[in-house]
């Protein structure tokens, strides 16, 4: 036998005389009793005898004399560490706090988890927002950089590519230190012994890198100070990625000649790693044509400018707008209604991600606040349940300050654990998130937890500690607990109830905001995914092929274009003959992307006076077999056949949007549309528009195309935007060098093999573009919104759960507090059901207030929400109602268990509670 549990006996003895002894005192007394016991055993006493000596010492003691002893709480100044140094009061308080939390493991675990969730989510999102939105771009003075866009409110085109001629005018303005422009040709790179490769390239003015303020890591780049665009020596600068993957990082690549589109280009430099501006670019080709010799009506260039240091962005914007107004009058034919917009580079680079990240940041902020409110209510509950203990301490002389320090220490311990766990979770989650996120988010791959993220975590921990640890403490200490103790009443005072109610309303409101935002995003994504695209092509394999300008047969552009048309047709024919292929076709652009908008006339309609008032439609070129492969339905007429060649009658197919816009109430078939668009740069030529009067250098004879079919609308704009009028030309009559192939085959592998084999036999030097099924393309187009939705659903569910937990906590506590009152009412004849209903009614009232407040927050954040919702108003009643009802059900459901408990109060037991 060993010595008894002295601490237990001492506490029991103290409790019998109504004295509360602190842990340190109990320990000291226990040691003493143990010494008595050990001494007795050494003196030869039996175990029983030794124990009874100890007990006798305890029994003869009047423990009351210790009641007024100064508190032996570890916070007392006499407490000195074994190492001889004085311990901080706080340190001692922390030790006690740890012990307290070990005793209440469930409470500690829930609190720490909630905090970790908040800290983890916040740190992760902060890191992402920081590296994507906040951190400066890796260019010289990036905040001075702006992008230039033509805009026409009348046409609803708010961010259109800029015309090269207009650009040259804007560029000359003194508000800019420099301005660079580019367009996007398709380049095929061929090296002896290597597979031909399609590269992402821009053809860019020679000052491009100077404007951005970046230098190549190898080579000199484009020579400075040369003419702006017309330069005969073809130069390229390549990306670090291309340099490493294709040329094994060989520095000798600089100065070598590489063949792009069959033309040798001198490599003038290799850019630093991760430089791919404006987007995923691997080759920057120096511009070698004169921008001023193009058309003001052709909007196909992109531009970036550096605003002078002594000029504000607003001043620069005013200067370009003033110039745009002058151009409107000077060149009314082309520039009427067109103006120009400057968009700061960072904002432009982020596009959809900027509002999306703001929504995300808002959502995570809300989640964190809900978490904190939850912790506040947990701490409040716990503080209230310790009311008696705290009252005793005060009665024993503990100062309010000591109590505050103790309560603060407890929440500090909790929040530290929460913060550490949260940071660990974030460190795990961040790389995973970066992997699943859309690859287009600029700079996301640079996101890493760093000192600043850790600072955020620490800041959250400290704030939660102070605010949420102190509030319940102040509520408690300030409530003259001694009075409560004397009266023996439970402290279910109004103050605590009010604090609780505010917390619950806050939680419900914030959760409501999150859930409603998630619901709106869900609706957006559902709408995007279910929008009819006009095709049924999930299994169709898509890829692209760009033919070089053939130097065969003749120098004449017409003959070259015929050769291109023939090659495409031959290629398609060969693909169709490959095993496993069901059908194949080609189009100049795939659905959901907008092709060139160009003017045309309807034969028989009066020709408008101004060129600008002519009908505008998207021009597409598609091959025979395209509509069939994509399973696009014809409303009337016929599809293209292989006989719609350059030697046959000119024909077009229009879409239903075209008919309803320009041919309302008229029979479209056998009607003619007239176009004199002959060239689309070097990429396409309309073979049916012939040279006109040879005495006039630019004279063309417009071609009349007969409408032979009407195709049901195929979506030709990004998701969420209405279908535009479109004219489909036969690709044999209007050949494009680059065509997108669509192949329906038994398997994807069969389709890829078919293209590869046919390409090898038709145009061996031509690379095949990226291969994707249409389903994959669709998934990619919706991935931003889907990712945002997924995250918000997660946040929404977490928020709703936390809010439900808050409601449950409040009413559990409330019912427990009111057991006596409920018992009295039951004794006096109240029906149990009405007692339970009262509890539910109260919770419903709080939840309703929360919902209203939440709806208000949604209203306030509308501006940002609108920018991430596609084709959906932030007032969408369905989404808001669904989220509201869900939350109401969950929250009111959470108070059912406490209500049931209220129903089951046994009047006799209830009255005996105290």
């Amino acid at each position: 036998m060993t010595s008894p549990d002295w601490p237990l006996e001492i506490r029991a003895a103290a409790a019998r005389v109504g004295v509360h002894l602190d842990d340190a005192t109990v320990e000291e007394l226990a040691e003493h009793l143990d010494d008595i016991y050990s001494a007795a055993r050494r003196d030869g006493c039996s175990d029983e005898e030794a124990i009874s000596r100890g007990r006798a010492a305890l029994q003869e003691s009047t423990l009351e004399v210790l009641r007024h002893a100064p508190s032996r709480r570890p916070a007392a100044p006499h407490h000195i560490a074994p190492d001889g140094g004085r311990r901080l009061n706080m340190m001692a308080a922390l030790r006690l706090a740890l012990r307290q939390l070990r005793l209440h493991r469930g409470f500690a675990a829930v609190t720490i988890l909630v905090l970790a969730l908040g800290v983890g989510a916040t740190t992760t999102v902060f890191t992402i927002v920081d590296s994507v939105l906040v951190r400066p771009l890796p260019y010289r003075d990036p905040d001075r950089l702006v992008t230039l866009w033509d805009t026409s409110a009348r046409r609803g085109r708010m961010q259109e590519r800029i015309s090269p001629v207009n650009f040259m005018d804007y560029r000359a303005l003194p508000v800019f230190e420099g301005a660079a422009a580019w367009w996007r040709p398709s380049l095929n790179l061929t090296d002896p012994g290597l597979d031909p490769l399609r590269v992402n390239a821009i053809e860019v003015s020679g000052n491009f890198f100077d404007v951005l303020g970046v230098r190549p890591q190898l080579g000199d780049g484009f020579p400075a100070g040369g003419p702006f665009s017309v330069q005969r020596e073809p130069l390229v600068v390549i990306s670090d990625r291309l340099w490493r993957t294709r040329y094994n990082g060989d520095p000798a690549v600089v100065g070598r000649l590489l063949r792009f589109n069959e033309r040798p280009h001198l490599v003038a430099g290799v850019m630093p790693p991760r430089f791919h501006y404006p987007d995923d670019i691997d080759v920057w080709q120096r511009l070698n044509w004169d921008l001023t010799q193009h058309s003001r009506a052709a909007h196909f260039m992109e531009a970036v400018a550096r605003v002078r240091d002594d000029t504000t962005l607003e001043q620069a914007a005013i200067a370009v707008e003033t110039l745009a107004r002058r151009l409107q009058t000077d060149f009314a034919q082309t520039n009427r209604d067109w103006t120009v917009t400057l968009i700061p580079l960072l904002e432009e680079q982020l596009g959809y991600y900027r509002p999306a990240l703001l929504v995300l940041a808002g959502a995570v902020g809300l989640l964190l606040m809900i978490g904190c409110l939850n912790i506040a209510s947990l701490l409040l509950t716990r503080a209230l349940s310790r009311e008696r203990e705290i009252a005793l301490r005060i009665a024993m002389g503990a100062s309010p300050r000591q109590l505050l320090v103790q309560l603060l220490a407890e929440s500090l311990v909790l929040s530290s654990f929460g913060a550490v766990l949260g940071v660990v979770a974030s460190a795990v989650a961040l790389p995973a998130l970066v992997r699943v996120a859309p690859s287009g988010i600029p700079r996301l791959d640079e996101a890493q937890l760093d000192v600043r993220a850790l600072a955020v975590a620490v800041a959250i921990a400290v704030t939660t500690t102070i605010v949420f640890g102190l509030v319940p403490a102040v509520v408690l200490v300030g409530r003259k607990i001694a009075a409560d103790l004397r009266s023996g009443e439970r402290g279910s005072s109004r103050g605590a109830r009010r604090a609780y109610s505010v917390i619950v309303v806050g939680q419900v409101a914030l959760a409501c905001t999150l859930l409603m935002s998630s619901a709106l995003l869900i609706r957006t994504v559902v709408k995007m995914v279910t929008t009819p695209t006009g095709i049924d092509a999930d299994a169709v394999v898509t890829t692209s092929v760009q033919l070089p300008i053939p130097n065969v047969v003749a120098r004449l552009a017409v003959q070259q274009s015929r050769a291109i048309a023939d090659t495409h047709e031959l290629l398609l024919e060969r693909i169709r003959q490959q095993p496993g292929v069901v059908s194949a076709g080609a189009a100049s652009v795939l659905p959901l992307e907008l092709d060139l908008r160009l003017p045309l006339e309807i034969d028989g309609d009066a020709t408008p006076v101004r060129a600008d008032d002519r009908s505008i439609a998207q021009y597409h070129a598609v091959s025979d077999g395209y509509f069939e492969t994509m399973r696009a339905a014809l409303a009337s007429g016929r599809p293209f056949s292989k006989f719609d060649t350059a030697d046959a009658a000119p024909v077009v197919i229009v879409n239903e949007a075209f008919v309803s816009r320009y041919l309302e109430g008229r029979q479209p078939l056998r009607r003619f549309v007239i176009t004199n668009t002959r060239y689309i740069g070097v990429v396409a030529q309309n073979l049916m528009v012939k040279d006109g009067d040879p005495r006039l250098p630019t004279s063309l004879t417009p071609a009349r195309f007969e409408i032979v079919g009407v195709v049901k609308d195929i979506r030709n704009m990004p998701l969420g935007q209405p279908v535009e009028p479109a004219v489909y030309f036969s690709s044999q009559q209007f050949p494009f060098r680059e065509m997108h192939l669509v192949i329906r085959a038994t398997t994807t592998t069969a389709a890829v093999a078919a293209v590869r084999a046919s390409l090898a036999s038709t145009a061996p030097s031509v690379p095949m573009g990226v291969v994707r099924t249409w389903a994959e393309q669709m998934a990619e187009k919706t991935q931003d919104a889907r990712l945002l939705m997924t995250v918000l659903i997660f946040f929404g569910v977490a928020a709703a759960s936390l809010a439900a937990l808050g409601v449950y906590g409040l009413f559990s506590w409330s019912v427990a507090q009111r057991t006596r009152e409920l018992a009295i009412r039951l004794t006096l004849g109240a029906r149990p059901v009405s007692v339970g209903a009262g509890v539910v009614r109260q919770s419903a009232a709080l939840v309703a207030i929360g919902l209203v407040v939440g709806l208000g927050i949604v209203r306030v954040s509308e501006a940002v929400l609108t920018r991430v919702l596609i084709d959906l108003s932030p007032h969408d009643p369905g989404s808001l109602a669904a989220a509201g009802i869900l939350l109401a059900v969950v929250a009111i459901g959470a108070c059912v268990p406490p209500a049931v408990r209220a129903l089951r109060v046994d009047p006799v037991e209830g009255l005996r509670v105290e």
Partner: protein, 117 residues
Amino acid sequence: MNLPADGRTLDAAKKGSADLIILALVEDEPLHGYEIASRLERSCQGTLRFTLASLYATLYRLEERELVRSRWVERAGQRRRRCYRITDKGRKALAVQREDWSRFIAALTQIAGLRPA
């Protein structure tokens, strides 16, 4: 001066002398509670005794008045103990008390005819 005419005389005296006794016991070396109690018992064969509670109540009071100072001491293989050592203030107080008690006892000896034990 009213002195109770029974055994309570001694009790009152003991109570009054408790501070002196404890300060004297820890004068030379730091001791923990049980050591203080057992030394006292040994040196006066049980005439003077503290109960558990009164011993610690006194120690805490002395500590609050900064006459002694305590610290937890841990020794290898043993439980930690709280040891009390006298402070400078305590030494001064002890000197004063010794003086007072010496005079008091001298007076008692003379007046009440006490004889040294």
